[in-house]
Amino acid sequence: MKMHPRAAEYPDSFLATPIPDEAELTAGVKIAAGKRYGFFTDTTLCIGCKACEVACKEWNLLPADNLGLRGTSYDNSGDLGATTWRHVHFIEHIRDPQGSPATEMPPFQSNWLMMSDVCKHCSPAPCLEACPTGALFRTEFDTVVVQQDICNGCGYCMPACPFGVVEVSLDDGKAHKCTLCYDRLKGGLEPACAKSCPTDSIQFGELEELHRRADRRLASLHEKGVDRAYLYGAPDGLGHGDGLRELNAFFLLTAPPETYNLPQAPTRPANRAGPALAAGLATVAALAVAAFGLFASDRRQT
């Protein structure tokens, strides 16, 4: 097994202080302000253990929201929201594309699709572009974070988000979502979900490196016959339309995006603001000119 040489310097199970630049040991990346970081979630490696959900809730002190099952396979958290920042989808392919029940299993549990979903930290981010208070901001790691001490709960980020991620909590009246572990990045630590992922389905790192890794993985999967595999949210993949350049948290998927509750080509809402404002103002201006004529002709008649 490959081990980072620095790891040998810390043989104890319990450490008195955090390891400086710990992400170098756990994710092979040194975290520095000004560089772009993100997640590459390779769903072909996900085993649905939900360690990411648990690690996220533990680190970020989020309450458990639903301990029972929902009748939607093994999914019990349902969707991303104010208190769920990682959510594992469970999709059972029990029918073949013709719609009849599958009677045979392709190898390697291919009837199962599992995917750990997360805030995409879009570039540009629609929630941030909608936020009128500046509570949502882009960090020095190119991630998108809500400052709850600024947020006034206007809720405009919720319909703005193209993925239904950010949510205003009715408990405290502020918006909440994944911070890509902003506090951990500041301390040189890998985000909790990526660190806890036992299969490296969730990989954290610098975006350029993650894109290279994703391209390699995709090529290798295609070579092995999984020609359904594709990237979602990478600069040249599916997952972003009009105005959305890329998703800083991107995915490798093997079924249509909608299967994972993801839109094929979501667009940037702010692109619609200008044309709508112009159309509205033009309407009122045109009606005002017409009204001017009506008032003037009324004056002439009296």
């Binding site: 969707d79 045979e104 208070t133 079924a255 080509a265 309407t283 009204a291 008032f295």
Partner: protein, 335 residues
């Protein structure tokens, strides 16, 4: 051990041995990027978006903002093009505008989930956010309208001279410009979201709001006004209603083109606009004195109510469409 799917043979009854690649292809179909799909799949039918929680408070604000904003626009029109009797319309428009701002702002503040921090909206300006643009439009409109109403009150008290009248007339221009923005920015606010029903037709909604606001503004100014003032106002109301009606009739088709198949039920709004047009046509053809004045008031009230309903029903239908994953998935398919 390295797993090699290609080298693993899977046998099925009645068939020869096949490679994993063939089995996978048979079961899971061609590549999703190229596969044409009639209906997008969903994840257990669950919503792919979060619906806004905007309800009656926001829709009421939107309607009030439209009435107040358009009142300032019509005040400017009456001031520049109107006859002597239209001075009354200018006066009422100025008071109505400030009343709208005073009533509207608290509605927005109590709709926040942390209302005591409403002033955080004023710490930045975000040009990509119609909510932020609207914050400053409302603030500016409120300030100009309050100043203009103060000028008007002084004039009404007989304490102003021609100089003050000129100041009021000059202030009417910025008030009307901000009023036009008040009437329609709320449409852009809906359009600049990911909610399918709003995002599918941002321009249409803004035009609808503009027409409805001008019709409502004329209607509210005509309530209690004299016969002479009501003449021009009634025509403006019917014209704006006509525009609203045309756009309303095309709205469902526009939504369907964009993949949104849950159109809002806007029947009552349509009815209010149609009644305004019919009423005005009757007056033009048969003569205004053949129609009793109370009918004017009933029709005007209907138009105002239609404006409130339009925004309320549109908000409700939008929130519902956000929970229809297929509407959203069809809308976000590359076209």
């Amino acid at each position: 051990m390295t797993l090699q799917p290609d080298s693993v043979a899977v046998s099925a009854p009645g068939e020869g041995s096949r490679t994993g690649r063939e089995v996978a292809r048979r079961h899971l179909g061609p590549s999703p990027v190229t596969a044409p799909l009639a209906e997008p799949p969903t994840y257990y039918g669950q919503p792919a978006l979060k619906a806004s929680f905007y309800g009656w408070k926001v829709s009421t604000y939107m309607a009030v903002a439209g009435l107040a904003g358009s009142a300032q626009v019509l005040s400017l029109v009456a001031q520049t093009a109107g006859a002597a009797h239209d001075a009354e319309t200018v006066r009422r428009g100025r008071y109505l505008a400030v009343a709208g701002a005073v009533l509207g702002a608290p509605l927005l503040i109590i709709d926040l989930h942390t209302p005591r921090r409403f002033y955080n909206m004023l710490r930045i300006f975000r040009p990509t956010s119609p909510m932020s643009i609207g914050t400053y439009v409302l603030t500016g409109f409120g300030a100009v309208s309050a100043a203009l109403a103060a000028v008007q009150a002084r004039l009404d008290g007989g304490r102003g001279g021609p100089a003050l009248e000129r100041i009021g007339a000059a202030m009417q221009f910025p008030a009307a410009a901000l009023g036009a923005a008040m009437s329609t920015y709320t449409g852009a606010l809906l359009g600049a979201t990911s909610t399918p029903l709003w995002a599918a037709a941002p321009r249409t909604i803004a035009v609808l709001f503009g027409g409805s606001a001008m019709a409502g503004g004329a209607a509210v100014l005509s309530l209690g006004a004299g016969q002479a003032e009501r003449r021009a106002l009634g025509r403006v109301e019917a014209l704006a209603s006509g525009l609203e009606l045309l756009v309303l009739l095309r709205f469902p088709r526009r939504l369907r083109q964009q993949g949104v198949r849950t159109p809002p039920a806007l029947g009552p709004v349509l009815l209010a606009a149609a009644s305004s047009i019919t009423h005005q046509l009757t007056k033009e053809i048969a003569g205004a004195d053949r129609v009793p004045p109370w009918v004017d008031a009933v029709v005007a009230t209907g138009v105002i109510a239609g404006g409130f309903l339009l925004r309320h029903l549109l908000l409700r239908a939008g929130n519902r469409s956000a929970e229809q994953p297929r509407d959203y998935f069809r809308f976000t398919r590359p076209r």
